[in-house]
Amino acid sequence: MQHAIDNGHPQHAAGSHDHGHHDQESMKVLGFWIFLVTDCLLFGTLFATYVVLKGHTAGGPTGKELFEIPGFVAETFILLTSSFTSGLAVLAMNKGKVNQLIGWLIVTAVLGASFVGLEINEFLNMVHEGAKISTSAFLTAFFTLVGTHGLHVSVGLIWMIGLMIQLKMRGITPVTRRKITVISLYWHFLDVVWIFLFTIVYLMGVM
């Protein structure tokens, strides 16, 4: 446990001495990495299901007929930008600038929320055109895979708002520092997953 990810030492309520005790904060980051491995497998399984069932349209609409290029390209740009701004937030944290940190988190959250809004809009349009989750195996797999990603982003938004309040209350401490590190990992992870969605679902779908 010598390699703590942060520069500061954790301070505990009851004092600073820490004999035989492991660095809780860096251990929690490690646990989160392992959680991300399991989340990779979760998405991997959903991708596998989607790829197998992609052609099972049962006479219903196909991806080529449904996907609208401007929509998913806009979603991609917005989400990638939000990943960049969450990186800027971490940089601000490393400089110890709490207001700048919160500012970048707000930008990230706004971008994330507009991504979710666009996605909901896309889903509603599809349902309006008669492409519902119950239409075919292809569409069930599509809504499940893309919807799971959207749900992850939405959960991340609530979580991020909670962290902003904690930052406002407590400033940058070893604990909030670890929490910001973890959510930025999560946010970048969702970005990586989206790149796969963009390629396998949308690009391969319209080609």
């Binding site: 399991t38 497998l41 197998v52 069932l53």
Partner: protein, 657 residues
């Protein structure tokens, strides 16, 4: 009004079967008795403070153990009901649909709500002690895992008096488990019960990987870790790779049932074989998840009771790790008859047989450890010895099943049933029982009675062979699994009767074990030394039961079997007490009620979705979110055990001066 209540109640509660009415009465009486005791002795505060909110891994381990023994009882009763039904031809003790429910719940409960929690109980009771740690990596998450398991298990279990049990087999194959094949709520109970407890299992896997990676005592390099810790590590690796697949598979099935999806249906382009592939990508590794820790237990016990180092330590580690990888490349052997072609079947047949190699190496290592050892035949060692021939036969029949062309003959027959019971009872159940006998004195401070234990041992063992050997023969005679009755003309009667007798012998064995525990609580031999078996690893170097912080002074490890080496260095003289000046206040996590409330909210979510009551499900989800936020905003999560308290505890145990 009255009529509508009546019609609701008749669909909500399971009616029409005298066995169920009997169960209703006994559940009501037990609940009233428990509530009465809690109120009469004013134990609510104690229950909340000491157990429901605890983050102590030892207490969580004990709760896992109690829950798993209760589930062993429930699953065992299911087994006896089935064996009673099949004892003779043309028996009408159970109806066909009731029989479907019984075999479904038997399988699900035994694997997911008996074997898994018993395993997690042993993880919790042993691993931190064995690696010289004061806790697991995430004590709060550990408590979350336990309560998710418990509420998931309860959700699954109430299905048999409320709403109706699942009846599509323990893995819920579609299209049987789709709305078209099973329109009641039983399958929803299956999905949500397993989903909730499965998330807990996943979290336990992460928790123990980090615990073993990061919390080992100074000096305990990887190749100095005890074998049980190694086996927990390999099992946890399989958990984190396998359980996400289960989560997705169950969610997909639920999307089909709840939102009208077509992933696995027969219409709308659905593909049922996709489900069967997915569920076995989790399901096959799952059997290694439960059996590897049993291998670890046997390794500890063989070394201790032969008074020798484990033979071939490195090959044991290599075997564990290679099994944990190979376990992911065998899933198709569960459906060689799917028609995926000879080349695919051959690849999976070879991968399956390959697992026999590391497993065989382990068996030889256990035998060589015993060779020229000074063997003591105490209870843990007896179960270990009983395991070896049982598992070897089970392994051999497994290789027979792995021969793809021959499997067309055995597929879904009683031969298969006999095989997997032989490896799961002979390997997993015997292993965990051995582990419980072995570590019981460490956790509770007394040994389990030897005489009653021997009765139980022989009843289990004789019962096992009497029950399952005839089933191999029945398989060859053409009896298939899941048949609920058969005619005299089949000629299966005598062997089935013998098999039923064996099942009841095992049931009596279990009764003896319950009696043994109750008897030993009162009269069991007290363990004052902390080391009743003259054992080898760190957990035996501290008092029994261990203090809340486990190790007053964190040990430094310089070789394998560190406690044994230390005892040899001091020529088995009693250990010197530690001077008080070396003690210090100890950093520990605070108890929390959030895990209990969090898991209870998931129960509400599950119950709501089972009946399609969205208002309830979403209320539960809100509760889940609020619990998480409450935890996120809690910063006061740990404290220091005062030095005076540490000194007092250690002095009372005679370990400090």
């Amino acid at each position: 009004m009255y009529a509508s209540i009546k019609s609701f109640a008749s669909s909500f509660f399971v009616t029409g079967d005298p066995l169920i009415y009997g169960a209703d009465v006994s559940i009501a009486l037990t609940s009233i008795a428990i509530l009465f005791v809690l109120f009469y002795f004013k134990k609510w505060g104690w229950l909340w403070r000491e157990w429901l909110t605890t983050v102590d891994h030892k207490k969580i381990g004990i709760m896992y153990l109690i829950a798993s023994l209760l589930m062993l009882f429930r699953g065992g009763v299911d087994a006896l009901l089935m064996r009673t039904q099949l004892a003779l031809p043309n028996v009408h003790f159970l109806q066909a649909d009731h029989y479907n429910e019984v075999f479904t719940t038997h399988g699900t409960i035994m694997i997911l709500f008996m074997a898994m929690p018993m395993m997690f109980g042993l993880f919790n009771m042993v691993v931190p002690l064995q690696i010289g740690a004061r806790d697991v990596a995430y004590p709060f998450l550990n408590s979350v895992s336990f309560w998710l398991f418990l509420f998931g298990a309860m959700l699954f279990n109430i299905s048999f008096v409320i709403g109706g049990s699942p009846d599509a087999g323990w893995l819920s194959y579609p299209p049987l488990s789709e709305l078209s094949g099973s329109s009641g709520v039983g399958e929803n109970f299956y999905i949500w019960g397993i989903q909730i407890s499965g998330i807990g299992s996943l979290a336990t896997g992460i928790n123990f990987i980090v615990t073993i990676l990061k919390m080992r005592a100074p000096g305990m390099k990887f190749m100095k870790m005890p074998m049980f810790t190694w086996s927990v590590f390999s099992s946890s690796i399989i958990i984190i790779f396998a359980f996400p697949i289960l989560t997705v598979t169950l969610a997909l099935l639920f999307i089909d049932r709840y939102l009208g999806g077509h992933l696995f249906t027969m219409d709308g382009g659905g593909f049922p074989m996709m489900y069967i592939n997915l569920i076995w990508m989790w399901g096959h590794p799952e059997v290694y998840i439960v059996v590897l820790p049993a291998f670890g237990i046997f390794s500890e016990i063989v070394a201790t009771f032969s008074r020798k180092r484990i033979f071939g330590y490195k090959s044991m580690v290599f075997a564990l790790m290679s099994i944990s990888i190979l376990s992911f490349f065998t899933w198709v052997h569960h459906f060689f008859t799917m028609g995926s072609g000879a080349d695919v079947n051959v690849a999976f047949a070879i991968a399956t047989m390959a697992i026999g190699i590391p497993t065989g190496a382990k068996v030889f290592n256990w035998l060589f450890t015993m060779f020229r050892g000074r063997i003591r035949l105490e209870q843990p060692m007896m179960w270990t010895l009983a395991f070896i021939p049982c598992f070897v036969v089970g392994g051999a029949t497994g290789v027979m099943l792995a021969v793809a062309p021959a499997d067309y003959q055995y597929h879904n027959s009683y031969f298969l049933i006999a095989h997997f019971h032989q490896v799961l009872i002979g390997g997993v159940v015997f292993g965990y029982l051995a582990g419980i006998y072995y570590w019981w004195p460490k956790l509770f401070g007394f040994k389990l009675n030897e005489r009653l234990g021997k009765y139980a041992f022989w009843l289990w063992n004789i019962g096992f062979y009497v029950c399952f050997m005839p089933q191999y023969a029945l398989g060859f005679m053409g009896m298939t699994r899941r048949v609920y009755t058969y005619g005299w003309d089949m000629g299966w009667g005598p062997l089935n009767l013998v098999s039923t007798i064996g099942a009841f012998l095992m049931g009596i064995g279990f009764v003896f074990q319950v009696w043994q525990i109750l008897y030993s609580v009162k009269y069991g031999e007290r363990d004052t030394t902390g080391d009743p078996w003259n054992a080898r690893t760190l957990e035996w170097s501290i008092p029994s039961p261990p203090p809340m912080y486990n190790f007053a002074v964190v040990p430094v490890v310089d070789e394998r079997d560190p406690f044994w080496e230390e005892k040899e260095r001091r020529d088995f003289a009693p250990a010197e007490p530690v001077p008080v000046s070396k003690l210090e206040s100890i950093h520990m996590p605070k108890n929390s009620g959030v895990p209990f409330v969090f898991a209870a909210c998931w129960f509400v979510v599950g119950f709501g979705f089972v009946f399609g009551w969205n208002w309830m499900a979403f209320t539960g989800l809100a509760g889940v979110g609020i619990s998480l936020l409450v935890r996120s905003f809690t910063y006061d999560t740990d404290y220091y055990v005062p030095l005076e308290e540490v000194i007092e505890t250690e002095k009372a145990a005679g370990r400090a001066v």
